[in-house]
């Protein structure tokens, strides 16, 4: 057998002389080799595309975890604190009412003096260390905590106590390695001397980090004390909104789906509803924010920044998601079940509510949870209805709490990225970890429900 170049046109079709085939299958001709190389390249593009997507995901999660995980621990200084009676109890009669008149600022002096004395006692010499560096060592929150501790237990007055005291975000950053000696030099709110002081204390083991519950439960704080900013109000706000979305969107979504899937006649109205639902699913979220602002706040006069408004807006946004998944779940129930129920004389309403709906429930719940998780991460519409406001008081219990000002987790993240102090970025990343943890938990629940109740017809 000889090799004939295969790119020559060969006789084709019946009637053509059928020359014996001269090619061996075992030898790939040049054209086939070229085509196979193209095939390999094409496959490679596919693998590359997936690799890029995966790497992007890994990189994203990695940076968030790297930047945010340190927000869950906070640096405290543990040195002997002398609670001078002359400062906290100028009258000297240990009367709590009079001691309460001493302002938080005065307690700052206790912390400063104690630190200065500690440095003297232990021969720690830091070059260029000024009063300002010592003053700026402890957080304003640390002073307030100290005041509260003393007021709660007046017997502490005059004692030397060794309690951990919250340091400022700069010292926290130095201890965690976020702030370097170089960056301290150019930062107006800290100094090289303060950096050296922090390092000296760290070396002696006087600085320590503790798990920072206040970050999860505390309230937001002002620009000057990022170290005490917490997510408490945002978590409650988000929780309230999820509650409202669940209570409103689930029944309305299920009712809509039942009507469209089981009862609706094919007419113009039904078509109109269907078109509306599929379009609402794709309307930019910020437009819902405008709707919330114009309709709920301006026209109905509901309060700004309130979870009720956020909940209503998110309900409208989540409805299409819930409706689409509920309809899929209803459609997955085989018609034979409906026929069987109708066959024994049940009305259509009874068929749906006694048989179809219970069978579709796992699918409906899964879709609802996924819709809720989406709503939990929604930011833009909430910004327009005033949830970016700076809120430092917890909303009260529902139903009144639905009308109190609150924040929301994703909006709090945005809020912190807009602060002047870069220490808030760590908080923002930390808040995202909390947000993602909630979403992960919800998705796992959805997967569990799907697995647990999965039915094969």
């Amino acid at each position: 057998m000889t090799d004939v170049p295969s790119n020559l046109p060969r006789p084709v079709g019946p009637g053509a002389p059928s020359a014996p085939q001269a090619r061996s299958l075992l030898i790939a001709d040049a054209r086939t080799r070229r085509r196979n190389a193209a095939e390999k390249r094409f496959r490679l593009y596919g693998i590359l595309a997936i690799a890029v997507a995966m790497l992007a995901l890994v990189f994203l999660l990695f940076t968030i975890l790297r930047d945010g995980s340190s927000a869950f621990v906070q640096t405290y200084a543990k040195i002997p604190m002398t609670i001078e009676a002359s400062i906290v109890d100028p009258q000297g009669n240990r009367d709590p009412a009079q001691m309460a008149k001493v302002l938080t600022t005065s307690y700052g002096k206790i912390l400063q003096d104690s630190l200065a004395r500690y440095l003297d006692d232990n021969d720690i010499v830091v070059e260029g260390l000024g009063d300002k560096d010592i003053q700026g060592f402890f957080s304003a929150q640390g002073r307030a905590d100290m005041r509260q501790a003393v007021l709660a237990d007046p017997s502490l007055v005059g004692q030397v106590v060794e309690v951990p005291v919250l340091t400022t975000s700069r010292v926290d950053g130095m201890f965690k390695g976020r702030v370097s000696r170089e960056s301290a030099a150019v930062d107006a709110r800290t100094s090289v001397a303060q950096y050296d002081l922090a390092m000296a204390l760290a070396e002696r083991g006087d600085l320590q980090t503790r798990f920072n519950w206040d970050f999860v439960t505390g309230t937001d704080s002002s620009d000057t004390r990022p170290e005490s900013a917490g997510l408490g109000v945002a978590i409650i706000g988000s929780f309230y909104m999820m509650l409202i979305v669940l209570v409103l969107a689930l029944p309305i979504g299920v009712a809509t789906s039942i009507y469209l899937e089981e009862f609706a006649p094919r007419n113009r109205l039904t078509d109109l509803i269907e078109v509306n639902i599929s379009n609402l699913a794709a309307v930019p979220s910020i437009v819902f924010g405008i709707l919330g602002l114009a309709a709920f706040i301006n026209v109905m006069g509901l309060p700004r920044s309130a979870p009720i408004v956020g909940g209503l807006v998110l309900t409208l946004m989540t409805l299409p998601t819930i409706i689409i998944s509920t309809r899929a779940a209803l459609r997955a129930v085989p018609p034979s079940i409906r026929d069987a129920a109708l066959g024994v004389g049940a009305s259509r309403m009874q068929t749906v509510f006694h048989h179809v709906l219970p069978l579709a429930m796992p699918g409906i719940l899964t879709g609802t949870i996924i819709g809720l998780a989406q709503a939990l991460g929604e930011t833009a519409p909430l910004m327009l209805i005033g949830m970016v406001a700076f809120v430092t008081t917890y909303p009260s219990a529902p139903p009144q709490g639905f009308f109190d000002p609150a924040s929301a987790l994703p909006v709090q993240v945005f809020n912190w990225t807009q602060r002047a102090d870069p220490a808030f970025f760590e908080r923002a990343s930390g808040a995202i970890i909390v947000l993602l943890a909630f979403m992960l938990a919800m998705n796992l629940l959805a997967i569990y429900l799907r697995r647990r109740f999965e039915r094969r017809w």
Partner: protein, 484 residues
């Protein structure tokens, strides 16, 4: 919370109605329930629904309308000179509402008696001292205090009226339903009709939402165009809002930024998403699919604020330090490139999962036909599968484009706030959504064009995305029908 208690009462009445209605039906046939038209429970439900639904509807309407109605009534009591402009009126009303709430709290805490609260004047130093001591912040501006007292009394009257009306409706409904509870009464049909009505009502919410969106956008946009010429808005190339007046509010720089960023995002997302989808549906083994598909879906589930932070903290500085600065093209971390890349990353799963569905809808027989002719898998994909799937893929890309145009958080954090038209992708630019957020966050003055322009921007955005969506959904639906 009178509404809350009215609700509880109505529900309790409905429950009682259920029991009474059911037992009345059973008694009417002396226990032989086969003689009833419907099962006994339906007679109960009939009474319960007639008892509960009318007052609950009334409550719903009241809850939605009450704040506006009361505010309007109270406003009449505030002297005109105090509400010279819109801005101070909304602040004033907030003050009035807070004072009213605080007064109510003081009364329930026993600081003041009801009579004292109603007769309180700013001159009553003793009462104000007590209030201050209890931590109640009641305004001592005379007309605010007067308005707050009005507010309380109107609210109280209204609440009394509402309670009476709701209870009357509930009892009336119950009586009507009970009077009709006889064995021949088709209770099931009536109950099912009512339930059906409720289902339809719920379905109409989708339409109501769209109508609400359109109305709120059009109404305020109309107000905007009365204050600002529409030619300058649609064809202006300058965006310099200043609340002092003399703003230039041209949409073109925002449109440019929006489209520029969207194009970059699509240039990233479409090839990657499409190739990923092709690989997943045509090459990947079951095992690879079972790992990669959920991982890509994770990307889709991440909230956009996370991408925004990623752009701001990580991608922006990286692009600035490694691309823009060495190339001498700019020194801004927020840039069209930053936002575009990160948005592209966000869109990858969107494009890939839509394309995956569409590619899978191409019948296997076409692939077999092509392979049997001796084409390689990649030739089959490029020359048979993708052309067959093309309309669907175009639809998916259009949907992705509409998402990119409407995306907010990534551009707010990644693109910057400078409105400019420039070809350099490493410069900060801004988008329609950024400016909507910018103009509407914080305290708004709904009489100034600088605030109202956000609604005109929103309307433009809504029209653009709606057009894209309708067109894309149309194409995708046509495509699906082709293979069904």
């Amino acid at each position: 919370m009178p509404t809350f208690w009215i609700m509880i009462t109505v529900l309790a009445l409905a429950a009682a109605g259920f029991v009474v209605g059911r037992s009345q039906a059973v008694r009417a046939v002396s226990g032989n329930t086969r003689l009833l038209h419907s099962r006994p429970n339906y007679y109960g439900w009939n009474v319960a629904l007639f008892t509960a639904l009318p007052p609950l509807l009334l409550l719903l309407i009241w809850v939605l309308a009450q704040p506006a109605i009361v505010a309007r009534a109270v406003e009449d009591h505030i002297p005109a000179e105090a509400i010279a402009d819109n801005e101070s009126r909304s602040l004033l009303m907030a003050d009035v509402q807070r004072s009213a709430t605080e007064l109510g709290r003081a009364v329930s805490a026993g600081t003041l008696t009801e009579a004292e609260a109603a007769a309180l004047t700013p001159l009553d130093k003793a009462a104000f001292d007590r209030l201050a001591k209890a931590g109640a912040k009641v305004s001592d501006t005379p007309h605010v205090l007067a308005a707050a007292q009005d507010y309380r009394s109107i609210n109280k009257t209204a609440a009394r009226l509402l309670t009476g009306l709701a209870l009357a409706l509930a009892l009336g409904g119950m009586a009507l339903a009970l009077s009709r509870t006889v064995p021949e009464f088709r209770a099931r049909n009536v109950v099912e009709q009512v339930v059906r009505g409720v289902l339809i009502l719920c379905s109409l919410i989708a339409i109501a939402t769209t109508v609400g969106i359109v109305l709120s956008l059009v109404f305020e946009s109309y107000n905007f165009f009365r204050l600002y010429p529409w030619q300058d808005f649609f064809f202006g190339t300058e965006w310099t809002p200043s609340f002092g007046g003399g703003s230039k509010l041209g949409i073109l720089p925002l449109l440019w930024g929006t489209l520029y960023i969207s194009v970059i995002a699509l240039l990233v997302a479409v090839p990657i998403g499409l190739f990923a989808a092709v690989y997943m549906s045509e090459y990947a083994s079951q095992r690879v699919r079972s790992i990669v598909k959920p991982a890509i879906e994770v990307l889709a589930g991440i909230p956009t604020i996370v991408y925004g932070l990623f752009a701001l903290v990580t991608v922006g500085p990286l692009i600035r330090d490694w691309l823009a600065m060495p190339l001498g093209l700019g020194n801004s971390a927020s840039s069209v490139m930053t936002a575009g890349l990160v948005m592209g990353m966000m869109l990858i799963p969107f494009v890939s999962s839509l394309s995956d569905d569409i590619i899978n809808a191409v019948p296997q027989s076409l692939r077999d036909g092509s392979l049997a002719l001796g084409s390689t898998p990649s030739e089959t994909i490029r020359q048979v599968v993708l052309p067959a799937a093309l309309p669907g893929i175009v639809g998916a890309v259009l949907l992705a484009a509409s998402r990119a145009i409407g995306e907010t958080m990534i551009v707010v954090l990644g693109a910057g706030a400078m409105a400019r038209i420039s070809p350099n992708p490493f410069e900060a630019m801004t988008t329609i959504t950024v400016k909507i957020v910018g103009q509407l966050t914080g305290d708004n003055d709904f009489a100034s064009p600088e605030t109202l322009v956000a609604f005109a921007l929103g309307l433009t955005l809504f029209v653009i995305t709606l057009g894209l969506n309708v067109f894309a959904l149309y194409i995708v639906r046509k495509y699906r029908e082709q293979y069904e």
